[in-house]
Symmetry: C2
Subunit: 145 residues, 2 copies
DNA sequence: AATTAATATTCATTTAATATGAATTAAATA
DNA sequence: TATTTAATTCATATTAAATGAATATTAATT
């Protein structure tokens, strides 16, 4: 089983943004600190912003920031918004070709398992990822709070 | 999130084998009925057999059959054996490059969520997938029991 | 108004995982 | 011994995902 890097990067962006004390930060800097693709990150940020987790502004002194405090950003909501589970298995997809789909009980179990997966994230917020804030700042080369 | 077709196919093989009343069946026939790759299916069967779910024999009158009755084949065990979760997210992999891994709390949550996913399958056996046996037989073009 | 700095958008390319195909080898049975 | 089947190996194709690059749009500063 695999989680897309899209979700992975989404969490990294949120963690980075949570370290900025409300000040906007730039996609370019985030990409540089994590050494990942700025292009890809741009799409991740766009997603997070259209889902309401981030607020972005263009132009000089622009950038992105958390729309809400970390305690109010539920990780289950983030995962559900960033993972596309429409094709987790072939039978989830309307275009699936598995012959036995009409008589197959496995699909229900897959849905149940996926829900259980998300339910774990539902129990955490971004704040739960920030408990080692000091170390995170150091690793990412940010000023101590 | 995505499950590999390897696991998907594994379930299909087990379902097919469970419909054979203990008689061996051939990989080639399974591949034909599901219209999927025989080569790939061979690897899936090899895995299931090395994990003890199937018993195979070569040569004339050979084939594969369930090693145990369906009620004794736990789906959680099957999923754990067929899914490679070593790289579910980058930080699960020893070769992962994510900078913040040492200070990141997300990994624990991912592990917890993965375990919750498997735990759902733990509650079912192959027998739970066979409740629509009549329909499955018809779709797969097998003789009624 | 012009310039600069940022996100937004689009498209092309690359990459890596996955799946498939094909051919050969080994084992079992008639 | 011939035949049938799984096991094994290697090459190829396919696909989704990720990356790169270029352009457009927006907004703040000078």
């Amino acid at each position: 089983m695999r989680v897309t890097t899209h979700s992975d990067y989404a969490l990294r962006v949120l963690i980075f943004a949570a370290l900025q004390d409300g000040k906007p930060c730039r996609i370019e800097d985030i990409a540089a600190r994590y050494r990942i693709s700025k292009s890809h990150l741009t799409k991740v940020v766009w997603n997070l912003s259209s889902e309401g987790f981030l607020t972005t502004s263009r132009g000089r002194a622009g950038g992105l920031r958390l729309s809400r405090p970390p305690e109010e950003i539920n990780l289950g909501a983030v995962m559900r918004a960033t993972e596309d589970n429409g094709a987790m298995v072939e039978c989830f997809d309307a275009k699936g070709l598995c012959a036995i789909t009409p008589a197959c009980k496995a699909r229900r179990i897959f849905r149940e398992a996926l829900e259980a997966f998300h339910a774990v994230f539902d129990r955490y917020t971004l704040a739960d990822l920030m408990t080692r804030e000091r170390d995170l700042r150091e690793i990412l080369g940010l000023e101590p709070a």
